[in-house]
Amino acid sequence: MEQFFYYVKVSWVSIKRAPLPYALTVFILSLGLGVFFANATFYYQMNSDPLPHKSDKLFYPMTLMVPYECNDCLPPRIHSYSNVQKLSASDIPTAKVAMYSSDGYLRLSSSQAPTPVSIRITQPAFFSMFEVPLLHGSVWSDDKARQELILSKQTAEKIFGRSNVVGEKVLLDDRHYTVIGVLDNWQMLPRLYDANNRNHVNDADQVYMPLETGYDYNYMSNSQSHTFDDTDFRQLGTQGRTGALHQLQFWVQLDTQAQQQAYRQFMDNLVADEKKAGRHQSTPNNQLVAMRDIVRFFGGESADIKAFALVTLLFLGVCLFNASHLSLNRYLSNQYEFSLRRALGASRLQLQQQMLADVLLMTLFCTLCGLLIAWGGVELLNYLWPANRLFGRWDPTLLLLLLGLTLSSSYLVTLYPSLRASFGGLNQQLKE
């Protein structure tokens, strides 16, 4: 350990000998790392798996059962109410849930100004399937329509000034509801259960309403809906339940390979039966997409972020090259000391250990400086692409990755120069 501290001291003395070139090396490397890390933050968060232990067990089924002949078509991303009923009519999944999102206005009484809120219209299984934490109260006991809402914690605090509001009454679009539950802080990132139309980058919803209530009160989807027949959008409670009006997302939980195989078979049988019954003429094209693949399946990956990832990686390469060049100059100007140490008995291995102390110091400075630049970069990207702002955040894993990247970059920048310096001609250096 004493030798390690000595190596650190030697590095520090060497830095003090020529602080400006060293600062320039650190700055150039930090710039490359900071710019890369700012973009990598978004790339990492957008491609992260919010439920890694479950994302290969939650599936989004899609069937091509449109009421007209359509070969080589992809199945619709969303379902009609009647198709969801058919896809739900199986005991194979461990759990299943239908949902969609809408908008509304929430307030305590008609004398107050209404607050616009986003509403997730869903079923009780949503909360267990996607592991939504509940702070107060409970979720609905069954799938039936009811005048009961669940609020996010922030919404409860905004409307009532506190979080424990179970049993309180609220007005949503001027209809009376009772609050039966309040969620704890929760934001699934990315919101993979809502991946169609790139909604996976949005905030969590503020209000949760039973699916049947949403249909009864004619809440239309605010993201994606279409109909393949003459269903009247304004008659959601009646025609919406029977016609080909598609607006529902549907998820099933299939824990085992056997369940997945069985549910695929179930979907195939369903589509074949529907075709036999004359309800569609399409060639079967069923899809059962795991949650972890859903963004890619829907083509929701951000091309901007991908392109920037490539550009910033190239920029990092250029910075590495330049920093390495500066580092080489620094090492060559110190070559005399390297040669002296070798003449006095230091082996090349010991000089490489000395170099590791250099790497550690450079990692320390570059991490601090790189984080500062990355923070500025994240703020800039948030300003330029506010839609992605939720992903501009760091977590311990990401910071650890940055540290690893900085360490390896510092090593790369130092490796060649230190090798050059330790392989220099001893005699010539000591004569000069």
Partner: protein, 232 residues
């Protein structure tokens, strides 16, 4: 102790080959003080560097304590330099940012000697060269003669068996040069073998043996000098 057998060294560039050392045959016994003399460019510094394993040789062999250094790994050569050989350079080669004590401790660090033992040995060496009171000084605060004494202290702190001195008084005035020579003689009397490159005939005469190199070759008398006189 030192035996060079038919040793040759060639410096090559794309255009020319320079034969720096040609078929050198030399034996140096333990405790000798050998002065290497010769005109500039004759190969004496190259010979010293080969002896110090700072330069490789092309042909022949170099035996130190009966063991050939040819084929030793970098680690083995470093250990050999560290434990058996002390260097004194014309330009002192002290690290200006370190104190005298730190400079002297430098070779001892690579031997894995404990901090307290390093300090003891470094102080002892400084004491010997008469600079113990200035242990915390930096080289730039000393005169040239004092710096060379510090370099000598660094060379002897590891208690090497061989001291290689490349024109140790080349950068010093006559008074300081005399002090340095007296110091080297004192070290030699304590049993350390010294090989010193010098241009100065007076200093060469103070050695127990003179070896002359001309055009990379030893003069006949140098290979074995029956008149070599050990210093008293």
């Amino acid at each position: 102790m030192i035996q060079l057998k038919n040793l040759s060294k060639v410096f090559r560039t794309e255009l020319i080959e320079t034969h720096a050392l040609r078929q050198i045959e030399l034996q140096v016994s333990e405790g000798e003080f050998v002065a290497l003399t010769g005109p500039s460019g004759s190969g004496k510094s190259t010979l010293l560097n080969v002896l110090g394993t700072l330069e490789h040789f092309d042909e022949g062999d170099y035996l130190l304590d009966g063991q050939s250094v040819r084929g030793l790994s970098d680690r083995q050569l470093s250990a050999l330099r560290n434990e058996k050989i002390g260097f004194i350079f014309q330009g002192f080669n002290l690290i200006k940012d370190y104190s005298l004590l730190d400079n002297i401790e430098l070779p001892l660090r690579y031997r894995g000697i404990s901090a307290s033992e390093r300090k003891r040995r470094a102080l002892e060496a400084l004491e010997l060269v008469g600079l113990a009171a200035r242990k915390d000084y930096h080289p730039s605060q000393l005169s040239g003669g004092q710096q060379q004494r510090v370099a000598i202290a660094r060379a002897i702190a590891g208690q090497p068996r061989i001291l290689l001195a490349d024109e140790p008084t080349g950068n010093l005035d006559s008074l300081m040069a005399r002090q340095v020579m007296e110091l080297l003689e004192q070290i030699n009397r304590q049993g350390c073998t010294i090989l010193m490159v010098t241009h100065d005939p007076d200093q060469a005469r103070r050695a127990s043996r003179q070896v002359q190199i001309v055009d990379g070759q030893l003069s006949d008398a140098a290979m074995y000098d029956p008149l070599a006189v050990k210093l008293a």
